[in-house]
């Protein structure tokens, strides 16, 4: 009789624990879904930012832009190209 009571007690405790665990897991899964949704949103935002930075980088690497910057910095296109022979002495110390 006493043995049955002990078994019942443990079954009750076990069942309770199991129920608690299930409830905890369901709650956890539900809140994890929200976290996942938040992470997905964040991922989309970061991807958009990455895309926009990539486009900025692409535009900045344009040769046309380089030419504009170079001109602003004082570089000019050579007007005339002079070819000199290797043997030709063009600067000589006295």
């Amino acid at each position: 009789m006493k043995k049955n009571k002990i078994i019942k007690f443990f079954l009750l405790i076990g069942g309770g624990l199991l129920l608690g665990l299930v409830a905890f897991m369901v709650a956890e899964a539900a809140s994890s879904g929200a976290v996942l949704a938040k992470l997905e949103k964040e991922e989309r935002m970061l991807a958009a930012e990455n895309q926009s930075l990539s486009v900025e980088l692409v535009r900045a690497s344009s040769l046309v832009n380089f030419e504009i910057y170079a001109t602003k910095m004082g570089f000019i296109k050579p007007q005339e190209i002079l070819y000199i022979t290797e043997k030709e002495v063009f600067a000589k110390l006295p």
Partner: protein
């Protein structure tokens, strides 16, 4: 007792009502409702694969994948009047908001769209920039939404538009590459879209314990081309300058490495802006370098002469026996371009003087069948195999069906049609020692974790070493002492040839309009590049020696330092 019956009847009635409703939900509308329920807790969508980029030789971008937005309106959610919304949106949708006319037209267009009460969803504008999207969002207009769209970014603007092609839409509204590289490599560039199926709760939050399928998109392949941005820029700038200077209606330039067929630059004008392709007519999209044919005129003489030398029917010092005056062939009279005749001129002099009679003599020596065989070996009449969409190959007159007139005129480049790319491919065989190479724009395909090196396609040797040396020497002399000698850059060993071709119209040749071209490679002994320049209908002079040749040299002059080409004695 009565009360019990009444309650029982009431229960029965409610039971019947519930049963009826359940029957409606489960049996009659079961399919629709199940579908609606599924759409509520299942979220499925295709995940677009980013389109691959097109890269220049140094890995910098020619075209990159970008992001744009489709602006749409959900009519039932709109709170303000259509006109109010239109006035708020229009400044973001026109190119120049200070242009009152276009702004007003846009307001009218938007008002009309927003006033459509019979529709729920209406697209208002395609490909709106991210900046404009942010600005519109800040305006906080209810009922206005955005959908992401694939866009292309062209850091160099409209440069190399014909070569690159553009990204348009097919009838179903899907992105499709048209023309140039976008068209030819459309499948590789497109990648493979992904798919995502996820179970969601009533708030749209994913259910972790639910079912889900996730197939990741595969990004499109990047194309690493042989295009050199610096060379492309020089070619583009100089070509436009030349077209304006000589009053031409258009022009084409191709620069290629004759040793492996790598296309270093390619440009044609008039051109278009691939970003706004929809603002141009179809005639702008065709790449004249691969899709337009022309009668090459005198530039073709080097191919015929090379064939004759290789066939052993003439030597450089063979003297022309019929060059003392016009040549009568059938009922036609063949004259030189300047009506000056050079009796007993050698074959080298025939090329230097660009002598039509001398070339007709060469043609007669060769015979039609032999000439046909060599032209076939040079790839005339066949597509070059360049990796660009839209290449054409005007057919060569069938073997055995050439008349004496056909043979004579073909000898100096009339009555045969070629595309610029066919011509440069054929002359490259002279430049590189006799091998026919296939022009190639793309050097490598770059995947996410792999790459595929596209090897140069070097064809069989079609000219002997002796022939190559002889024809090169002739071309060097032609550049130095021919009719374009005034523009020749002293000291540089250029092998080149001019060509002034008449334009055939309705069975005869136009008396005034010409296509002027110059083809040349440098240094002649070990060429680093070969370049073809053609000008359509130049107005300042019809002659190539006064238009295409100086333009060729003005481009080459800028390329010499870049290629490290120095004058001979330096």
């Amino acid at each position: 007792m009565v009360r019990t019956k009444l309650v029982s009847l009431l229960f029965l009635f409610f039971f019947a009502a519930i049963l009826g409703k359940l029957f409606t939900w489960q049996i009659i509308r079961g399919k629709d409702l199940a579908e609606q329920a599924r759409s509520q807790y299942w979220s499925d969508k295709f995940v677009a694969a980013p389109r691959g980029s097109i890269l220049a030789k140094d890995g910098s971008w020619l075209v990159a994948s970008g992001e744009a937005w489709r602006v749409f309106a959900e009519i039932p959610k709109i709170k303000q009047s259509p006109k109010e919304i239109a006035e708020k949106l229009a400044p973001f949708f026109v190119e120049d908001p200070s242009d009152k006319k276009s702004l007003l037209a846009e307001i009218v267009r938007l008002t009309e769209l927003l006033s459509k009460k019979e529709v729920v969803w209406v697209p208002l504008k395609q490909k709106v920039s991210s900046q404009s999207k942010r600005d519109i969002e800040r305006a906080g207009i209810e009922g206005i939404g955005f959908e992401v769209q694939e866009d292309r970014v062209y850091p160099e603007g409209s440069a190399a538009a014909h070569l690159l092609g553009f990204l348009g839409k097919n009838r179903e509204g899907a992105n499709v590459g048209y023309f140039g590289l976008e068209g030819y490599y459309d499948m590789s560039l497109s990648g493979k879209p992904g798919f995502r199926l996820q179970e969601k709760d009533v708030f749209g939050t994913p259910i972790l314990l639910g079912e889900s399928t996730n197939i990741s998109p595969v990004k499109g392949v990047d194309l690493l081309t042989n295009i050199d941005k610096t060379i492309q820029k020089i070619l583009e700038e100089k070509l436009v300058e030349g077209i304006n200077r000589y009053g031409a209606s258009g022009g084409t330039g191709i620069i290629m490495d004759p040793n492996n067929g790598a296309i270093l630059a390619m440009s044609s004008y008039p051109s278009y802006d691939p970003q706004k392709y929809y603002q141009y007519g179809d005639e702008f999209f065709k790449n004249p370098a691969v899709s337009d044919s022309f009668e090459p005129g005198s530039v073709f003489k080097v191919l015929v002469m090379a064939a004759a030398l290789d066939a052993g029917v003439v030597e450089p010092d063979t003297r022309c026996e019929i060059c003392d005056g016009p040549l009568k062939v059938d009922k036609f009279l063949i004259e030189t371009w300047n009506q000056k005749y050079h009796p007993d001129s050698t074959m080298t002099e025939v090329i230097i003087n660009s002598d039509n009679v001398g070339m007709a003599y060469v043609g007669q020596k060769m015979g039609a069948d032999k000439l046909y065989e060599y032209l076939d070996k040079f790839g005339i009449g066949k597509p070059t195999g360049i990796d660009l969409q839209g290449e054409i190959a005007p057919p060569l007159r069938e073997k055995g069906k050439w008349s004496v007139v056909d043979l004579a005129t073909a000898s100096f480049g009339q009555g045969v049609a070629v595309t610029p790319i066919q011509l440069i491919k054929a002359v490259s065989a002279i430049a590189n020692g006799g091998k026919l190479v296939t022009p190639q724009v793309v050097d490598r395909l770059l995947g996410e974790n792999w790459e595929d090196d596209i090897k140069p396609i070097i064809g069989p040797k079609i000219l002997s070493d002796k022939t190559v040396e002889q024809i090169k020497a002739m071309m060097v002399e032609a550049a130095k002492n021919g009719e374009a000698k005034w523009t020749h850059l002293r000291g540089f060993k250029v092998a080149g040839k001019t060509g002034t071709a008449q334009i055939p119209i309705a069975g005869h040749y136009d008396k005034e309009k010409t296509i002027a071209s110059f083809i040349g490679f440098v240094p002649a002994d070990k060429p680093k590049f070969i370049m073809l320049v053609t000008l359509r209908e130049p107005q300042s002079s019809p002659w190539a020696s006064e238009t295409a040749a100086p333009l060729w040299y003005s481009i080459a002059k800028n390329l010499f330092p870049y290629f490290g080409i120095r004058p001979e004695n330096y």
